[in-house]
């Protein structure tokens, strides 16, 4: 990938990232989820201490005060060096930026430094058993009782809830108001009595997401982010980050994935292995998809630098991301043929276990952060401004 032209500072920045990565012990990532979490949490601390976390966040909030372009350069170099991303991405890319925008200065001083360093992980308590795409119909309640909220209800699909110290909770604080207007955004300490978490096993075999139950959980009113009953606006902001910034990191991963697939097939072929006729087209397809997403990303960066977020273009980006991720991993994993069934058999020349898992994982991208259908609804409503029925 190349720097946008005429920005020497980015080239310098890239060089300093490279130098640092070359001089640093890059951890290898264990397969087991619990170990992986511990290793990556420590890695986030290392990155934070070296000034590589919160790159585009303001200095006042504990960041580096640089631009989203610097963040992208860092993500690219991290991926190039085959170094893992920090683990706390829900905090860093999804929830954190909303807290930075909407929380009071005391809240930011308390919450943001450990969010960045990885000392305190965050989860996003939005979806419920009966509120998925129709998020605003959520039923978890937070009743005001003196200087505290009392929270009751259930969340589901909450990623990393079992590892999180904090939950960005959407709860109903006014059940008489129209459904979008009675919701508040509350930071809940997951160690509070009455919070219980039950991990759910995903298709990949990992347990990243969980069910979370709230049973008379008492939360100080001071944990309210923004105004009472104004949580829906903040939730939209959070979702736009999930559709935007998070997308950038993923894009870099696909780029590396495609290069790795080429490298594996190249090695396989030079070792005398057979290469199916469709291989070239499939790999080419993955390559073309990533180039398209990369072009799209440049536009997104320009939009972010101009501060035009959130925007209905976030949904265009998310939809593109969904398609590209699924194309990349389907194209590559299809090259395994029947050897997709044998995780440790090298006959197809590809790392079967890895590509099959990535392919499974790619089926989630068009569901989380709002399904592809929901993104299209948003594009039709807000970008194309089509009349509604």
């Amino acid at each position: 990938m190349t720097d946008p032209p005429h920005d020497p500072t980015l080239a310098d920045y890239r060089a300093s990232v490279r130098d640092w990565l070359a001089a640093t012990d890059i951890p290898s990532v264990p397969l087991d989820l619990d170990h992986r979490f511990e290793v990556l949490k420590a890695w986030q601390g290392t990155l934070y201490d070296a000034g590589w976390v919160g790159i585009s966040w303001s200095r006042e909030s504990g960041g580096q005060g640089l631009t989203p372009l610097h963040q992208l350069v860092f993500s690219e170099e991290l991926a190039r060096a085959r170094a893992p991303m920090p683990i706390g991405l829900i905090g860093l890319d999804v929830v954190g930026p909303s807290i930075d925008t909407y929380a009071s200065s005391e809240q930011r001083a308390r919450l943001l430094p450990p969010l960045l360093s990885g000392d305190e992980m965050w989860c996003q308590g939005f979806s419920e058993p009966n509120a998925g795409s129709d998020l605003a119909s959520l039923r978890t309640t937070a009743k005001i009782d003196g200087d505290r909220f009392v929270v009751n209800g259930q969340k589901v699909w909450t990623s990393w809830a079992h590892k999180a110290r904090w939950c960005a909770l959407l709860a109903r604080t006014d059940s008489d108001a129209p459904k979008h207007r009675g919701i508040s955004y509350i930071a809940v300490d997951m160690a509070t009595p009455g919070v219980s978490v039950r991990p759910l096993v995903q298709m990949t075999g990992d347990s990243e997401f969980c069910e979370v139950f709230f049973d008379d959980v008492e939360v100080p009113r001071g944990n309210l982010i923004g105004d009472l009953n104004a949580g829906w606006t903040i939730a939209q902001d959070t979702l736009s980050h999930e559709r935007g910034s998070y997308t950038l990191r993923r894009m870099v991963e696909y780029d590396v994935a495609v290069e790795e697939a080429f490298a594996e097939i190249r090695r396989h072929r030079s070792a005398g292995g057979t290469v199916a006729p469709r291989t070239l087209e499939q790999l080419g397809r993955a390559y073309v998809s990533v180039r398209g997403l990369e072009a799209q990303t440049r536009k997104t960066m320009a939009r972010k630098v101009r501060g035009e977020v959130p925007s209905p273009y976030d949904s265009v980006d998310k939809l593109s991301l969904n398609e590209v991720e699924q194309r990349v991993y389907s194209s590559i994993s299809d090259l395994l043929g029947p050897f997709r069934l044998t995780p440790h058999d090298p006959s197809a020349g590809l790392d079967s276990a890895r590509w099959v898992k990535d392919h499974y994982y790619s089926r989630a991208v068009s569901i989380y952060g709002g399904t592809s259908q929901v993104q299209r609804n948003i594009i039709a409503d807000r970008l194309l401004e089509l009349p509604r029925g």
């Binding site: 190349t2 946008p4 032209p5 080429f262 097939i265 190249r266 072929r269 291989t279 070239l280 087209e281 499939q282 790999l283 080419g284 397809r285 390559y287 073309v288 180039r291 398209g292 997403l293 990369e294 072009a295 799209q296 440049r298 536009k299 273009y313 265009v316 939809l319 593109s320 259908q373 993104q375 299209r376 609804n377 594009i379 039709a380 970008l383 194309l384 089509l386 009349p387 509604r388 029925g389």
Partner: protein
């Protein structure tokens, strides 16, 4: 996009607003106008000078500054030998050390009265469009698909010789050369089979060996970029027509745009068009700093995406128009036919993806 690109786009827009009304467009698309007067007006407006180096009397713009104009050609369905007249001569003049006589012949194309066609077997990867070879100073063979050859005065030929690739410039009137017009299903674009029987090659060779390969690769890359830009513009127009239609057409007592099935298709089409537009900007932006190999690869990737996505947008556009979309009278069909035509030219997505795979695997 640089300001030069903006200036070109503004000028081309004004020209098309003024000169390219529905009447002349239909006449061109239906083959009732051979495009000569439009071509000459474009020449008079300086189009064919834009990317020609200043030392050859041109304006000296970079080819990437022309990309937005090619998108506009697509959007307005402006048909003409624009790649042949605006891109190829500029590349030949800037990349090759030509002898005086050849240089003058290329420069003469700027007037618009002389027309270049390109006989290139490389227009397809999976289908054989023919071959031309040089032996003992003579060109022999045929190329079965040559755009604009029926009207051309000069023919650029990619030939193979025992010493490798050759790039030749042959006058359309040269002895031994025959140009047979054939029916064309690419609206507004005449096609011909070009045959070579002992055509003298000695004075025709512009480049051979590595030098020829290098320039041929550049010409193919830029052709792909410009055709992909046209496809992008056509996809944009198909989307615009569709959005206009679905908010006005009513069924079941409401605009069809209120039905979710319709909205979802429109949103998908919009996402595809936006992605292509961003792709075109990224490729144009990178072109000035990229190595030739990377430029070729980017051009293939952009062309692959454009062929595939523009076709999808065109098909969804027809679907959302219902019966009217299937009529000859309504303009959408012209867009769809030109999308299908340009999709194949210099490789459809399947050919190009396989080629990209081959190149990257060899890397």
């Amino acid at each position: 996009m640089g300001s030069a690109a903006d200036d070109v786009l503004t000028a081309v827009t004004a020209f098309l607003d003024h000169r390219y009304g529905d009447g002349i467009r239909l006449a061109l698309l239906e083959g009732n106008d051979d495009g000569a007067s439009l071509r000459q007006a474009a020449a008079a407006d300086g189009w064919f000078d834009l990317a020609v180096p200043e030392k050859h009397g041109g304006v000296g713009l970079a080819l990437n500054d022309l990309v937005p104009a090619f998108r506009l050609f697509g959007e307005r369905l402006a048909v003409g030998p624009f790649v042949e007249q605006m891109v190829l001569p500029a590349l030949l003049l800037s990349e090759l050390n030509l002898d005086e006589a050849t240089r003058l012949r290329i420069q003469a194309l700027r007037s618009g009265t002389h027309l270049l066609a390109w006989a290139d077997p490389g227009i397809s990867l999976d289908w054989c469009a023919g071959t031309v070879s040089t032996r003992n100073g003579r060109l022999n063979g045929e190329i079965r698909l040559v755009r604009y050859a029926p009207h051309c005065s000069e023919l650029l030929v990619v030939a193979d010789s025992p010493a490798g690739a050759q790039l030749c410039l042959v006058a359309a009137a040269a002895s031994g050369l025959s140009i047979e017009s054939i029916e064309s299903a690419d609206p507004g674009v005449p096609l011909a089979i070009v045959r070579f029987v002992d055509v003298p090659a000695s004075s025709a060779v512009m480049a051979d060996g590595m030098d020829a390969m290098r320039v041929i690769a550049l010409m193919r890359a830029w052709s792909r970029i410009m055709f992909a830009a046209e496809l992008t513009g056509m996809a944009r127009r198909a989307l615009t027509l569709t959005l206009d239609h679905i908010v006005t057409r009513e069924q079941f007592g409401a605009p069809i745009a209120t039905f979710q099935a319709v909205r979802q298709i429109a949103a998908t089409a919009a996402q595809r068009v936006i992605l292509l537009e961003n792709f075109s900007e990224a490729v144009a932006e990178d072109a000035s700093t990229q190595s030739a190999d990377l430029l070729s690869l980017s051009a293939m990737a952009f062309k692959a995406a454009a062929g595939e996505l523009a076709r999808g947008v065109g098909e969804d556009a027809i679907q959302l128009h219902g019966g009217i979309g299937f009529t000859y009278e309504y303009e959408l069909q012209w867009y769809y036919k030109r999308i299908l035509a340009l999709r194949t030219w210099y490789g459809d997505e399947i050919e190009l993806m396989a080629e990209i795979g081959r190149l990257r695997l060899a890397a």
